[in-house]
């Protein structure tokens, strides 16, 4: 019995409602948080932060955002890249227009702006469903990228159309720009991720989340039950856009430092985030993290193994990486269509029954 819930009784509905009702889970969660906040910052260097932690944290936010829209509310979106671009450019405009305001506010405002843009492109979802909607969100993707490329105001009329994140500080410590410390950028993102995850968790476990899921599972029935589809879908687009925008802002300002719409926020980005939530598990916050971790780590891992250890030529390693990632996606789906999160749940269920097989 590695994993138990017997004897773990709840005496109030409030307790039963908490995020980790099982004590064991709760302790594990606390220890992960402790490690993330108090241990990791002392151990990491530039490489770990820039190659792994920052992308992981930032994509986690994007994945949570998309998961709210797609996993919880069932509206498939392929416009994530474009929406991240809104966050990035929004943040850039704010950073350069109001240099004295805290970057944290900029990031949040960028999320808000993205939420609004997202709602705009979400309006057709009232009529258009399923893959039709997915393809329709591509309109947002391509249009937004085009717009940011086309209108010099967005990139402050710089000659190249690139945007550069100037240096901004929090408590006097640089979190954007060239002179950042690994731990500072990491902690900055970590705090935002934590808050985002908590908010997402709260929204999805309450009535709002239920409305989204109802729309996802059967929109007609949901409407007859009393869910206002307009409000539910639009709120999902707004909240999702908010998270995705924050991710875009961080990706640009903290991680990349410079960006160009077509380059950094192209269609591949949309797909990447979608992969994350499907592999991680649709409709699961934990899954968003798992998926992001998986897709950030896997290529780095494969590259290190194939090129670093086995000494393969980089091009073959890259092709093989494609093959392996592709095959793994398929294998995962076959093994567990509901993603890593479900795999985790089944594993727990088995452990709970252990040592009895059923």
């Amino acid at each position: 019995m590695f994993y138990r819930e017997a004897g773990d009784f709840k005496t109030s509905y409030r307790e039963d409602n908490q995020t980790f009702p099982i004590k064991f889970d709760r302790y594990r969660y606390y220890s992960v948080m402790f490690a993330a906040f108090a241990v990791v910052p002392f151990l990491i260097n530039d490489y770990w932060v820039n190659a792994i932690f920052l992308p992981f944290l930032i994509y986690s936010i994007a994945a949570i955002g998309l998961n709210i829209l797609t996993g919880y509310c069932g509206q498939v979106s392929l416009g994530t890249g474009g929406f991240m671009a809104v966050g990035a450019y929004g943040c850039y405009k704010l950073m350069t227009a109001f240099p004295e305001v805290s970057i944290l506010i900029h990031v949040i405002l960028a999320g808000g702006v993205t939420g609004m843009v997202c709602v705009l492109f979400g309006l057709p979802s009232l009529r258009i469903k399923g893959f039709y909607l997915a393809v329709a969100t591509l309109a947002a993707q391509f249009f937004l990228v085009w717009l940011f490329n086309r209108v010099p105001w967005f990139y402050n009329y710089s000659a190249s159309g690139q945007i550069n994140a100037p240096e901004r500080t929090i408590f006097g410590i640089a979190v954007t720009g060239p002179n950042t410390q690994a731990w500072a950028t990491y902690l900055f993102c970590l705090v935002i991720v934590t808050v985002c995850a908590l908010v997402a968790r709260n929204l999805t476990r309450g009535m709002q989340g239920r409305q989204w899921m109802a729309i996802r599972d059967m929109d007609i029935a949901a409407e007859i039950i009393g869910v206002n589809p307009l409000k539910a879908k639009i709120s999902a687009f707004a909240v999702s856009g908010f998270f995705v925008g924050i991710a875009g802002a961080l990706l640009f300002a903290v991680y990349l430092g410079a960006a160009e719409a077509g380059d950094s926020f192209g269609i591949t980005k949309s797909f990447l985030v979608l992969f994350m939530i499907i592999i991680g598990g649709l409709g699961s916050i934990f899954g968003s993290f798992a998926g992001a971790a998986f897709l950030v780590l896997l290529p780095v891992f494969l590259k290190n193994v194939l090129v670093g250890w086995l000494g393969w030529p980089t091009d073959m390693a890259a092709h093989l990486e494609f093959i392996i990632v592709g095959a793994l996606i398929v294998i995962f789906l076959i093994a567990e269509p509901h993603g890593l999160a479900q795999l985790w749940r089944v594993a727990k269920e088995k452990l709970r029954l252990w040592p009895f097989p059923h």
């Binding site: 089944v346 269920e349 088995k350 029954l353 059923h358």
Partner: protein, 274 residues
């Protein structure tokens, strides 16, 4: 009439099967049954007893629901069939009418029926004849033959599903809750059809049914399933007379039929469960 079952050749033999869904949920805990050629066998039992699962285990449709037979065996005409493709099983003459109708929504009613004849190779004329036969049995769907099945009413869809199975000229039909959602007249009618198909065409039936009353009137033999186990079996006539069956499945107590209005004042308890 019940003598039709006297044919001793066993067509379908299910031997102590165990079914697990999703690798963790054990649903059937050793179910055995046998269906004689030309017989009508009823599978009775409450919700979640495992009737559907049993039928799917026979027709090999479990696989697509992440379920698997982990123990025991299924034999059809003496051959082990449990590793066959569902399609291969249809070719051997076993067809299932699934619970919940499962019509092809976007196909018209007639196309639905024609799809039932997918495995047949005996020519257009024969198929056309059977189409007429189905329309003869279910005049209501003849009226709606050109409309998309997705837009027909629940009962109409049930008829389409039945008709579709008949179109394949099967040797054995696995019927899952044929009466669900049908008007009383039609329930009788469907069972009449079952009976006449059974008698005239020699088709064997294994049917899962909640409407015990009708089922036991038409079936030759019955099995009663409770939580994944066979708790009772016997010739239909005998089962009908069994006091427990009478009380719990036919809704008759010693005093005769009770009104549904009176249910609030009493609660039946199953003797074999307590």
């Amino acid at each position: 009439m019940l003598d039709a079952a006297a044919n001793d050749e066993t067509l379908l033999e299910v031997n102590n099967i165990e079914v697990i869904y999703n690798h963790v949920i054990l649903v059937l805990k050793g179910v055995s049954l046998s269906v004689p050629k030309g017989g009508i066998v009823a599978l009775l039992g409450g919700n979640g007893a495992g009737k559907t699962t049993t039928l799917k285990a026979v027709s090999n449709l479990l696989h697509s629901e992440r379920g698997e037979v982990t123990k025991g065996s299924v034999h059809y005409r003496g051959d082990r069939v449990q590793d066959l493709d569902p399609a291969a099983l249809v070719k051997r003459g076993v067809i299932q009418v699934m619970e919940g109708r499962h019509c092809f929504e976007h196909l018209t009613v007639e196309e639905n029926l024609l799809t039932g004849a997918y495995t047949r190779t005996d020519g257009k004329a024969a198929i056309q004849r059977d189409l007429e036969m189905v329309y003869h049995y279910f005049p209501r769907i003849k009226e709606r033959r050109k409309s998309q099945a997705g837009y027909t009413s629940g009962g109409e869809q049930q008829m389409v599903a039945m008709g579709r199975a008949l179109m394949s000229r099967p040797e054995t039909i696995l019927l899952d809750e044929p009466s669900m959602g049908l008007a009383p007249q039609l329930v009788e009618q469907i069972f009449e059809i079952v009976k006449s198909v059974n008698e005239n065409e020699g088709v064997t039936f294994l049917l899962a049914e909640q409407n015990t009353n009708v089922a036991l009137r038409y079936a030759h033999y019955g099995y009663i399933l409770e939580s994944g186990r066979v708790v009772m079996d016997g010739p239909a006539a005998e089962l009908r007379e069994n006091p427990d069956v009478k009380e719990f499945y036919l809704g008759m107590s010693e005093e005769g039929r009770k009104s549904f209005r009176d249910v609030r004042s009493y609660r039946r308890r199953k003797r074999w469960l307590s």
